[in-house]
């Protein structure tokens, strides 16, 4: 509980911003839904067959998993808020349309007959008879849609739409329960409040409701207009990072370096933006301009023809940069020093006891108890490959969730586990990373990736970013990850500290 409240205190402004984003996304989605679904239902009142058809269509849309909808939309509209809103609207249309349609078509036929018999106009009939009588149904449809949208909007984080989902994803990815609770609880509270608010609004008169919705639309439009007017017309570039603390530190460094050289450039950071293929697509679609990527990942997942990654880090980088240029017309700047790849780790006590320094040393002690991440245990580039390369053969091997293995190691429940070389827990538990003396694991060096066109147009940005080339050692990265994910310091502060300590922000880079 303590850690939760301190987490909230430290991140309060970010949390409020995410909450605001979440509300904005939800309101825009609901307004669009209402503007689409209600008139559609009105038009179809007297065309029951087409109406039934639309009911079916909206139900079918409902059955498509929201993740699939987001995936389908990316090639067409890219990433960010636009596809998120489209997906939310597609979801929300069903309850609003169905309830509106049912409300309008299930009015006592005697009342409709009465309206007709007195020769009222179509407009009079619609606004004075049909709408008011269907209103409770319409409102309840909107209420269902609002609760659903607020819940589903958490998925917007997956495609860079922001909102409270960012915290849920962050929580899952970095095993941070505080973030998870903040995201989940806030979106639940938001849904409850919105639902209650609509219940109150439902008692207001129809006229006031229409006026209220009108005002809301005007306010939003005005707000958006003022926002764009106030935004200065300087160059804006967008830098994104994958999930987690390490990419966030890196993109903050990028920002500081770029702005130090070009104070007029506005740099927008999108932290925890998504997974590898998602960011890669976003870069190609010009949704983002720069993101840090690893050489090993480029060769194994992004480019064709490099399944066997060169063991030498420099060769691997050259292969990656060349393939990216040829296959995607992307520019891959020079990498930093540290590697964030697979490693094998043991406690200092075990290392001292068995005199362990390299993987080869490990092969002599099959009695050690090993625990591996399930993927690592199965994949050819994991334990099975190590068995072949080093003749490793542990008598006892267990699979274990990545988040649990370090603690198990620290408590002496297991002796050897796999690791990511920059994981902060290595520092936290004072673990020893053994040396891959036969260079079995592919090199994973981080470097900024951008479109070649962008690099050519912005030579000063390239120059600024290149100041990080060959900087940051593995233990320095561990240290920074430790400060961000374990000590919960701000990534921006940690990044700035590093740049200052290494004189990277000095003018002309003396």
């Amino acid at each position: 509980m303590n850690s939760l409240s301190s987490y909230i205190n430290r991140n309060s402004s970010d949390i409020i911003a995410a909450l605001g984003q979440h509300i904005e996304l939800s309101i825009i989605a609901i307004l669009i839904t209402v503007v689409l679904a209600v008139p559609l239902a009105v038009v179809l009142i007297d065309h029951r067959k087409i109406g039934e058809f639309f009911l079916q269509v909206t139900s079918v849309i409902q059955t498509i998993p929201s993740l699939a909808i987001l995936g389908i939309l990316i090639p067409f509209v890219g990433i960010g808020t636009v596809p998120a809103i489209i997906a939310l609207v597609l979801y929300a249309i069903m309850p609003v349309f169905q309830n509106t349609y049912a409300g309008l078509t299930n009015i006592d036929p005697l009342l409709i007959e009465a309206a007709d018999a007195f020769g009222v106009s179509k407009r009079f009939k619609l606004f004075r008879v049909q709408f008011p009588l269907a209103l409770p149904m319409i409102i309840s449809g909107i209420r269902i849609a609002v609760v659903m949208v607020i819940g589903t909007a958490t998925l917007a984080a997956l495609i860079g739409g922001g909102g409270l989902g960012t915290y849920i994803l962050l929580g899952i990815q970095t095993n941070n329960n505080d973030a998870l609770i903040v995201g989940a609880v806030l979106s639940a509270i938001l849904a409850l409040i919105a639902s209650a608010l609509i219940k109150v609004l439902a008692r207001a008169s129809f006229k006031r409701l229409v006026i209220g919705i009108g005002i809301l639309i005007v306010l939003f439009g005005g707000f958006a207009g003022i926002k764009t007017m106030l935004t200065p017309k300087t160059q804006t570039i967008t830098i994104a990072g994958k999930m987690g603390g390490e990419p966030e530190v890196l993109i903050n460094m990028y920002k500081d370096l770029i702005q130090q050289a070009n104070p007029n450039i506005h740099v927008k950071l999108k932290r925890n933006f998504g997974g590898t293929s998602f960011l890669f697509k976003a870069l190609q679609n010009q949704n983002i301009d720069i993101y840090p990527e690893f050489t090993g990942t480029v060769l194994q997942s992004l480019v064709k023809g490099h399944k066997n990654v060169a063991a030498n880090a420099t060769t691997a980088y050259k292969d990656a940069a060349q393939a990216l240029k040829q296959q995607y017309n992307l520019t891959y700047l020079a990498p930093m020093k540290y590697q964030n790849g697979y490693g094998i780790t043991v406690t200092k006590a075990i290392a001292d006891k068995y005199h362990l320094r390299t993987f080869a040393d490990l092969a002599k002690y099959p009695e050690l108890k090993a625990a591996f991440d399930p993927d690592f245990f199965q994949q050819a580039d994991g334990y099975p490959g190590l068995q072949k390369a080093y003749g490793l053969h542990f008598n006892s091997v267990r699979t274990m969730e990545p988040s649990l293995r370090y603690e198990a190691l620290a408590k002496g429940k297991v002796d050897v586990t796999d690791a990511y070389t920059t994981d902060p827990q290595i520092k936290k538990y004072h673990l020893i990373l053994l040396q891959d003396n036969k260079s079995f694991f592919p090199p994973y060096q981080g470097a900024p990736l951008m479109r070649t066109h962008f690099a050519k147009k912005n030579p000063t940005i390239v120059k600024s970013l290149n100041r990080l080339a060959g900087k940051i050692t593995t233990s320095e990265m561990q240290e920074m990850n430790y400060r961000v994910t374990v000590k919960h310091e701000k990534a921006a502060v940690v990044a700035k500290d590093y740049l200052n300590d290494h004189h990277l922000l000095d003018k002309k880079g003396k």
């Binding site: 005697l110 007709d116 004075r128």
Partner: protein, 310 residues
């Protein structure tokens, strides 16, 4: 004058109306009566074009209803539906003024007209104007329904089984109200009912309809005395309505043949009309054609009905 000429209404599975012709005179209280499903409501709705005949013509004062703008036609015809059919989202005043509003009357004039009519049908305007339909009894709701139909001073008022859902006391009060309003307004009323006694009580003339065809048209007395066919005769029996008419009291042998002077009532008046008269003048002697009836005859007659029922 409303004329229905050779109208046929054909649905996919059956004929609702079959080659039916009928003339309703101006200012008449005309009743269409028949069992449910006979086609009487279909016929009524042809007058304001809620329903169109498959074959045949409907004319109002010699003009084909199809020649009118449909909204204009309907704005000038009053309509009373089953159980009032008031809009639950509007107040009594808004409900009653709906036709006036579409005709473009201003608010003040509308309220004035509605208030006047509410008072006339026995609802205190100051009390009822701002009530919601959910706060009204069935009888009150239907009174508002009548006000709504009369508000625009139409030449024709159509009533579709307006009292079928009411309790017997409210029903009788509203029937009396309809008779009174009709007498005062000289408007053509076309009234649909499946209740023979209601038809006899209200009608200047009535038409008996069965299976989409016209069985008999005439004044109530005529139809009571000389049913045109077996259906009309049994329809009366089935409805057990004969017993309430004064000529049935005479037929059953009550009263004395006399030339004595008394309050004259028609044979088609009912024992309820008689009882109503006795309420104000307890020793009233009434005369039905050549027979004198005294209060004691009513009591004896009712007792004899009770015995029959046993």
């Amino acid at each position: 004058m409303i004329k229905l000429e050779n109208v046929t209404k054909r649905y996919a599975s059956n004929d609702a109306l079959n080659n039916l012709s009928l003339t309703i005179k101006s200012g008449e209280l005309f009743v269409l009566v028949g069992p449910s499903g006979s086609g009487k409501t279909t016929l009524l709705k042809m007058i304001n074009r809620l329903n169109e005949p498959t074959i045949g013509n409907v004319t109002i004062d010699s003009a084909d209803v199809k020649s009118f703008d449909i909204r204009h036609l309907r704005q000038n015809i009053g309509y009373v539906l089953q159980a009032g059919a008031l809009f639950p989202n509007m107040t009594v005043a808004q409900n009653a003024a709906i036709q006036l509003e579409t005709l473009g009357w201003d608010r003040q004039k509308r309220d004035q007209r509605v208030a006047e009519l509410l008072d006339r049908v026995g609802l205190r305007a100051t009390l009822f104007m701002n009530r919601m339909p959910s706060e009204l009894s069935g009888g009150e709701a239907q009174r508002v329904g009548i006000v709504r139909a009369l508000a625009a001073e139409p030449n024709i008022v159509l009533m579709d089984e307006p009292f079928s859902a009411l309790d017997p006391i409210s029903k009788r009060q509203l029937q009396d109200l309809v008779i009174q309003l009709h007498r005062e307004l000289a408007t053509t009323f076309v009234f649909v009912t499946h209740d023979m006694s209601e038809a006899i009580k209200l009608a200047d003339r009535l038409a008996v309809i069965h299976n989409g065809t016209l069985q008999q048209v005439g004044v109530p007395n005529e139809i009571l005395a000389k049913p045109a066919n077996a259906f009309v005769a049994t329809f009366f029996d089935e409805n057990d309505t004969q017993n309430i008419f004064l000529n049935q009291v005479v037929k059953a042998g009550f009263g004395q043949p006399s030339t004595e002077v008394g309050q004259v009532l028609k044979g088609t008046d009912t024992i309820f009309d008689w009882a109503a008269q006795l309420k104000t003048t307890p020793d009233l002697v009434i005369k039905v054609e050549q027979t004198t009836l005294r209060p004691v005859d009513l009591i004896n007659y009712l007792a004899s009905l009770e015995q029959e029922a046993k």
